[in-house]
């Protein structure tokens, strides 16, 4: 049986809760597909953990909405907010379903990963190798989003996954990075991370 925590009301702006739910649910989809394709159990378990975080956010958001509605007119406009939040929650549930394929050892046929890597162009796994110019650099200094439309969504280091790493996080030799973004960008980034390309272009 999973442990359920008691959720107490906290005054957090509705927009903050929504932003976090939107970001987290979208991140979870990418992480869940990555876990399925790279057959990574720890990553899948982390996705399921995030699902619980979303559930908590959903409760807090519902409480905020209940407090904010003072009359029928408020209720009519706020129902849209709660519907959107519920949809983001459903997206995160779908991500957890994908992760469960991995954690429950159902697995995805091995050929899928192979073909998928050919056709799916938004997700990529790269290992930071000797000679790579990104070793020791901070993520914000790399400026990947502006340079090549790429975002590092997870780093595997010392057997742990760092999800949605902070901008101040540094890259180390041996890190496994999962990136998402523009097809051309992620290919270029993989070459840079693995030391085949030694120039970061502007």
């Amino acid at each position: 049986m999973p442990q359920f925590e008691k959720i107490e009301y906290k005054p957090i702006p509705v927009s903050d809760l929504l932003v976090e739910m939107k970001n987290l649910s979208e991140l979870m989809i990418d992480l869940a597909y990555s876990a399925a394709l790279f057959n990574d159990k720890e990553l899948a378990e982390d996705v399921i953990e995030l699902e619980r975080r979303i559930d908590t956010l959903a409760y807090l958001l519902d409480m905020e909405i209940m407090i904010a509605a003072r009359d029928a007119k408020d209720a009519e406009t706020l129902i849209g907010v709660s519907t959107v939040a519920a949809a983001a929650d459903k997206i995160s549930d779908a991500a957890a379903d994908i992760a469960a394929i991995v954690t429950r050892n159902i697995g995805v046929h091995p050929i899928v990963g192979e073909i998928f890597e050919k056709v799916e162009e938004r997700l990529m796994k790269a290992t930071v190798k000797e000679g790579s110019v990104i070793i020791g650099q901070r993520i914000d200094d790399l400026d990947l989003a502006a340079r090549m439309g790429v975002d590092i969504i997870a780093i595997r280091r010392n057997k742990d996954w760092i999800l949605d790493p902070d901008e101040t996080e540094r890259i180390f030799l041996g890190d496994i990075l999962i990136t998402r973004g523009a097809p051309i960008g992620i290919k270029e980034f993989k070459d840079i991370a693995e030391g085949r390309l030694t120039k970061l272009e502007d």
Binding site: S15, G80, A94
Partner: protein
């Protein structure tokens, strides 16, 4: 025989990728429809939802009729469950779009939240002097230049789904999604001389 099997597999996975991509496009379009309070975009999401239903059935039938071995059943089950997840994501997107179609004026907090998220949706109008005018989407290379993906093109009353050979015209409104960093680049590219007011 082995070759043939690989082909069948490739077909199944290709369809799965289409399910995945369509469901993700639907999320982007659903958030755009909320941000812009656009019934056309919300309707597009509903159309895609119907398309997803058909695609998903085809995908499941193909997976079930492919001649897999007993020991491969678990891997196939995994594939089928991936398909079910895309369907769930598409449903969630359709539910968001429904808010717009029901005539509920999206609460300002929604616009704020969508704009502040890491991946955002934006719109830019194509004005005099833009290098995009009369270029096809393939030639325009908007994504390479700005990092933004064009989700839809609004032309007068119509909303066009972008295809590589769609030509961008003066006066078009481009609806695009991507990291917040790309928004200004896209606006500069589409309206170099002056910013235009939409809404």
């Amino acid at each position: 025989m082995v070759e043939h099997k690989h082909e069948v597999f490739e077909e199944i996975v290709t369809r799965f990728v289409e399910l995945k991509n369509t469901s993700e496009l639907m999320i982007d379009l659903a958030y755009s429809s909320l941000m812009l309070n656009s019934k056309e975009l919300a309707e597009e999401v509903q159309r895609l939802e119907e398309y997803m239903d058909k695609l998903h059935t085809d995908f499941e039938l193909l997976a079930l009729t492919s001649d897999f071995k007993k020991e491969e059943a678990s891997g196939f089950l995994g594939l089928i469950r991936l398909g079910v997840a895309t369907e769930k994501i598409a449903d969630a997107a359709a539910e968001m779009a429904e808010v717009v179609l029901r005539g509920i004026e999206p609460h300002p907090v929604l616009k704020l939240a969508i704009r502040e998220a890491e991946e955002t949706v934006t719109q830019a109008c194509v004005t005099e002097g833009s290098p995009l005018i009369n270029k096809t989407l393939k030639e325009a290379r908007v994504h390479e230049e700005t990092g933004m993906w064009i989700l839809a093109i609004k032309r007068g009353e119509k909303s066009l789904r972008p295809k590589p050979d769609t030509t961008i015209q003066l006066g078009d409104i481009l609806i695009a999604s991507g990291y917040a960093e790309g928004v200004d680049d896209l606006k500069k590219l589409a309206s170099p001389a002056h910013q235009c007011q939409i809404e």
